[in-house]
């Protein structure tokens, strides 16, 4: 149970932040030319009844996990190696989440689907960056450059090729992004430490400036994508649902593949490089090659995420590759816990969802007369500007994290798991 404590605490924290706003509605009061906040328990109840599949799902997962620990049915089903059984049987249960997450496409509203699709894109980016920064210990400051690179591979491809839909662009961008990462890594991965950080930062900025100034890439406006290339209604799914389902599936796929790598000789070599490069080399790990592999793999994943972003939004622009993007993704990885894929997921969810909630806060208060009456004006004033300060809040959270939990929210999970489940 101890393994789940950080997850549960994180969710409870998020719930505590958002809980008060479930019970309130904002409505304009035209007579007094203000907004009224009103207390509407119906909304909160509605919310919890909407969430009942989640609670039910959680209960089912817990039951599955408990019965599996007791009878090891999953290990028997999968015919796993004994040593991997215990850890694997618990870990494999994440796929029980899949139907639940995917069914979200049907019970979530269009706007929340948009938010969750963005969360999923950031999850993919954080997973990719975690390979270099978390596992291999290479600091990369220009990660969004590869994200933008993938988006422009898609944008330019669909402009100049007769048929280049998103599903064709994905493998292309993956391979080209990996190649770009390889070429960029070749000169600077032979250097030590912070050089890579500066070189990637410089290249990302130079690439963005280049794109902003070339006529072929549409300068600051970017490229508008042809409708046939982007996500569109297919089968019984609407456009937003399609985007959500594809992105969520890719998150699962990425977690699956990256965790398999993490627990293979390749992942061991990456961690060994992070822990002590000279020792890793002297026990036969080809350090430069393994670093190049990590770096180009994470670049390829970012490029893939770029294609998703383009296919979802219907356009690509240099805004994708801005420096604050790189820093946000890095912050997600650090907040979640360096080297832990699930930490990257949690970090992405928190750092994207919390600012969204903060941005929605003033309008929520305005629409709800009861709430407006309950909150004193000075506080209301402060809250309405809260989202302007979210970077300040991030800063504070980061400083507090570095002081009290430098390994991140789930940082020690891997080690603990390694020690317990063998």
């Amino acid at each position: 149970m101890a393994r789940w404590r950080p997850y549960v605490l994180g969710l409870l924290g998020l719930a505590a932040i958002t809980f008060p706003f479930l019970w309130l509605t904002l409505a304009p009061d035209f007579a007094r030319n203000t907004m009224r906040v009103s207390w509407t328990p119906r909304h909160g109840l509605q919310f919890f009844s909407d969430l009942s599949p989640v609670f039910l799902g959680a209960l089912l997962i817990w039951l599955g996990s408990w019965s599996n620990k007791r009878w090891h049915w999953q290990a028997r089903l999968a015919g796993l190696v004994p040593a991997q059984r215990r850890a694997e049987s618990i870990r494999g249960l994440k796929f029980a989440l899949m139907p639940l997450v995917l069914s979200g496409a049907f019970f979530l509203s269009a706007s929340s689907l948009g938010i969750f699709t963005n969360v999923a894109i950031y999850m993919i980016l954080a997973l990719g960056l975690n390979i270099t920064v978390g596992m291999t210990g290479l600091l990369v400051l220009g990660y969004a450059g590869f994200y933008m690179f993938g988006a422009y591979v898609f944008g330019l491809g669909q402009e100049h090729l007769p048929f280049f839909p998103w599903w064709l662009a994905m493998p292309f961008a993956f391979v080209l992004g990996g190649g770009a990462g390889y070429l960029l890594g070749l000169p600077c991965l032979r250097l030590r430490g912070d050089y890579l950080a500066i070189v990637t930062l410089g290249f990302a900025e130079a690439f963005r400036e280049l794109v902003r100034n070339l006529p072929i890439t549409g300068a600051d406006q970017g490229i508008l994508l042809a409708p046939h290339a982007t996500f569109r209604p297919q089968l019984f799914l609407g456009k937003g649902q399609m985007a959500f389902v594809i992105t969520a599936l890719l998150v699962f796929l990425a977690v699956f593949l990256i965790e398999r790598l993490h627990r293979s000789p390749v992942g061991r070599a990456w961690i060994a490089i992070r822990e002590n490069e000279i020792a890793a080399a002297s026990v036969g790990v080809p350090v430069v090659q393994m670093k190049l592999l990590a770096f180009s793999l994470s670049a390829a994943i970012a490029a893939l995420a770029g294609v998703i972003a383009g296919a979802k939004d219907g356009f690509v622009s240099p805004a994708l590759g801005e420096f604050p993007q790189s820093i946000t993704i890095l912050a997600m990885v650090i907040l979640g816990g360096l080297g832990n894929s699930y930490g990257a997921l949690l970090g992405a969810a928190l750092l994207y969802a919390v600012p969204q909630y903060l941005a929605l806060l003033p309008s929520t208060i305005q629409q709800n007369p009861g709430l407006q009456a309950a909150i004193p004006p000075f506080l209301r004033e402060a809250l309405s500007h809260l989202s302007d300060y979210h970077l300040l809040l991030f800063g504070a959270v980061m400083v507090i994290m570095m002081l009290y939990r430098p390994q991140g929210l789930l940082g020690s999970a891997r080690r603990k798991e390694e020690m317990l489940h063998r």
């Binding site: 070599a269 822990e275 890793a280 080399a281 002297s282 080809p286």
Partner: protein
């Protein structure tokens, strides 16, 4: 006669104006224990760093099993059968003791991406076989019971033993040990002497840097003495013990005279 396992000819390394290691000629035959001794700063560790590829020598040649390997990077030398431990211990502290050993099996692992990602039966069997083998190496250095602890939590002496297990897991023909008994009490040192002779019994050759004279004299087949980067004596332990030049290097002019 077949080529010796390791041979250096005129090996030289300078740092700026400092000649750290000069003109070292050394031959290590298969299954021999050769020690390198000398006062602090004599260039012993620099010599090891040249042999294991961490430094690129400025002159001379290194031959490993008849092949010229001068200036090769560490992982290639490891592949050719040379493994080492470090004077200032270099483990992977966040990994478990067992995983520390498993990292060293990297060069013996098949890494085809698809079987690895989808865990084919063959890959799972190989993973299990290597895990069992890593446990055997841990038992060999008497660390079997600590396999799942973080390497960073081991006591100092045990960390040295883990480094040896990790080096052995690369399946070397020649093992370089850099002060394996440093900071150990007499009992632990006796254990280390036993361990080194058991390593020799496995058919490995050992090249050893050590200050602990009892250890060096009791197990070495040959001793090379360095002073200020220059070899001043080379021979059997008894000859070295009475060599006036060696005594002078260690104890100073007056006592020797």
């Amino acid at each position: 006669m077949s080529a010796p396992l390791l041979e250096t000819r005129g090996l030289t390394k300078t740092f700026g104006g400092l000649k750290a290691v000069q003109q070292i000629d050394l031959t290590v035959g298969a299954n021999r224990i050769v020690s390198v001794i000398g006062p602090n700063g004599a260039g012993k560790t620099t010599f090891f760093n040249c042999l294991s590829g961490i430094y690129r020598p400025d002159g001379g040649t290194i031959t490993l099993a008849g092949r010229d390997v001068t200036g090769r990077p560490p992982h290639q030398l490891c592949r050719l059968g040379l493994a080492r431990t470090f004077q200032n211990i270099r483990l992977f502290p966040e990994m478990s003791v067992l995983e520390n050993v498993m990292v060293a099996q990297f060069q013996h692992r098949a890494l085809a991406p698809l079987p690895l990602l989808f865990r084919s039966a063959k890959y799972c069997a190989a993973e299990q076989a290597h895990r069992d083998e890593a446990r055997k190496f841990l038992e060999f250095v008497e660390l079997g019971g600590r396999a799942n602890d973080p390497a960073g939590s081991l006591a100092y002496g045990l960390q040295r033993r883990l480094e040896i297990a990790r080096a052995l897991a690369t399946q070397p023909k020649l093992l370089l040990l850099d002060e394996p008994a440093a900071g150990m009490n007499p009992q632990e040192t006796a254990g280390m002497i036993g361990l080194i002779s058991r390593i020799r019994d496995r058919g490995l050759a050992v090249l050893l840097i050590e200050h602990h004279m009892k250890l060096v004299m009791s197990i070495s087949d040959e001793i090379l003495v360095l002073d200020h980067g220059v070899p001043i004596a080379h021979g059997k332990p008894e000859a070295i013990r009475n060599d006036p030049q060696v005594i002078r290097a260690y104890l100073g002019e007056e006592i020797a005279a």
